[in-house]
């Protein structure tokens, strides 16, 4: 006890006070009080500091959201010759929502989801066309892509704000800390989304356009047939085999409807498809290198799953093997201008396709090659 107070007294000396019993009492009191404060209000103090952290990130998110909205409006007024007062209509589009079908009785849900998402797509397109009737198809698709980014950011911002306010009201550290934990990733994703706008505005191919570039390689100079909305195919040959290459119709920024294309081609008895090869971009894990090519089996297609479902169902029904070739990339690379590493991977992918065809098929077979992805800035 004596040594302990001696410590306090020395500290008191540092602060300019003398070493009197009054000081001793003051310091003991201070210690007790601070212990009590930490004990009783510690969590609350932590909540406040976390809340402050969240607020800073929320402001950043708001900045990104506002920027993407402004980009969407600017693109409309400058490139698509929309009237100057489009703000209100853009804001309306940003608030569009889609009600997903009920999944209590999952039988047939894929068709229902598809029905709703197609309708959502049609609705936005119709809206854009009515705002800017003079815009060409590429501009319309670009604006749709920018709006998608703006809508995502708008939603992210609103959700974070919701939990921030809830945390503020309840002072519940559990709500606030959970938010604080995921925020770094949310901000990273928001940054990535914002950086995609640059490529969209200039209609440059993005990392996700890898599949379309590969399929397009086999379609250049061949006769193209539209098989479904914004989806085209062409026939080519390789070492005695026929190849039907399918991709979304470029250079618009669209993913097309490859699943319907695959269904139609497989169901057409004259085609006699023996093998399906799908090429797509895949999100990499940390540590994997950008542009790495990997092979596997199954339907290589992302999205909410409806496309994948249809392709799998059609291939299973006809008992056709599905091979997948993917090129690894991060989210930011997938939605920004294509990097050199990914562009160079396209030749490697073509090599793999050739090898796969030689190993897994025989002369006279017909192979369906699907280039999956957003075909912005990639024709055929």
């Amino acid at each position: 006890m004596w040594t302990l107070s001696l410590g306090f007294l020395q500290l008191g000396g540092l602060l300019g006070g003398g070493s009197s019993p009054v000081d001793l009492i003051v310091y003991i009191l201070l210690t007790v009080v601070s212990f009590a404060v930490v004990f009783m209000y510690g969590q609350r103090i932590q909540a406040y500091s976390a809340l402050r952290d969240v607020r800073i990130n929320l402001e950043k998110l708001q900045g990104l959201k506002d920027r993407s909205r402004k980009e969407a409006i600017d693109y409309m007024t400058t490139n698509m010759k929309a009237p100057k007062d489009v703000q209100q209509r853009v804001d309306q589009v940003l608030e569009y929502f889609t009600i997903m079908p009920v999944d209590m009785d999952p039988s047939g849900i894929v068709g229902k989801i598809e029905h709703v998402t197609n309708q959502q797509d049609d609705r936005i397109r119709a809206e854009l066309k009515s705002i800017a009737p003079q815009a060409d198809p590429v501009q319309l698709s670009v604006e749709q892509n920018i709006l998608e980014v703006a809508t995502s950011l708008n939603l992210l911002f609103k959700i974070v704000r919701h939990f921030y306010i809830q945390g503020q009201k309840t002072k519940s550290i559990y709500i606030i800390v959970q938010l604080q934990m995921i925020l770094p990733m949310v901000i990273q994703e928001a940054d990535a989304l914002t950086s995609a706008i640059e490529a969209f505005k200039l209609a440059q191919p993005i990392g996700d356009g890898l599949g379309p570039i590969v399929a397009g390689k086999l379609m250049v100079g061949k006769e193209k047939t539209t098989i479904e909305r914004e989806t085209v195919y062409a026939k080519n040959e390789y070492k005695g085999r026929s190849i039907i290459a399918l991709k979304a119709e470029g250079p618009m920024g669209t993913v097309g409807r490859p699943h319907i294309g695959v269904e139609k081609i497989l169901n057409d008895q004259t085609n006699k498809i023996s093998t399906i090869i799908m090429v797509d971009a895949a999100l990499k894990l940390e540590g994997e290198s950008t542009g790495e090519v990997a092979e596997g089996v199954g339907a290589a297609i992302g999205g909410i799953g409806t496309e994948k479902f249809r392709i799998e169902a059609a291939a299973t029904q006809k008992d056709i093997p599905m091979y997948a070739i993917v090129v690894k990339q991060s989210l930011i690379d997938a939605i920004s201008v294509m990097r050199k590493e990914i562009a160079e991977a396209t030749d490697k992918v073509v090599e793999r396709i050739h090898r796969l065809i030689e190993e897994k098929t025989k002369e006279g077979d017909t192979i369906l090659l699907v280039g999956v992805g957003n075909t912005l800035g990639v024709s055929q």
């Binding site: 990733m185 470029g250 894990l285 294509m338 050199k340």
Partner: protein, 67 residues
Amino acid sequence: MAQMFPSIGEKRPKMPVFTIEECPSCGTKTKRAFKFGDYVYKEGGECAKCHAKTLITMVYAELIQVK
């Protein structure tokens, strides 16, 4: 688990974008700065060697190290 949190990637610095034009008859490749309106598999300019029509075969961004 990790599939739910894929790599978002590093913030990219501003990278210059290039267009590659390839001549289908003599195979000459030319690399130039991207011009608005370029897209992959669009007809390019005239080949400097054999005056055939070239084809844009790639558009990509490249990180140029400034030392």
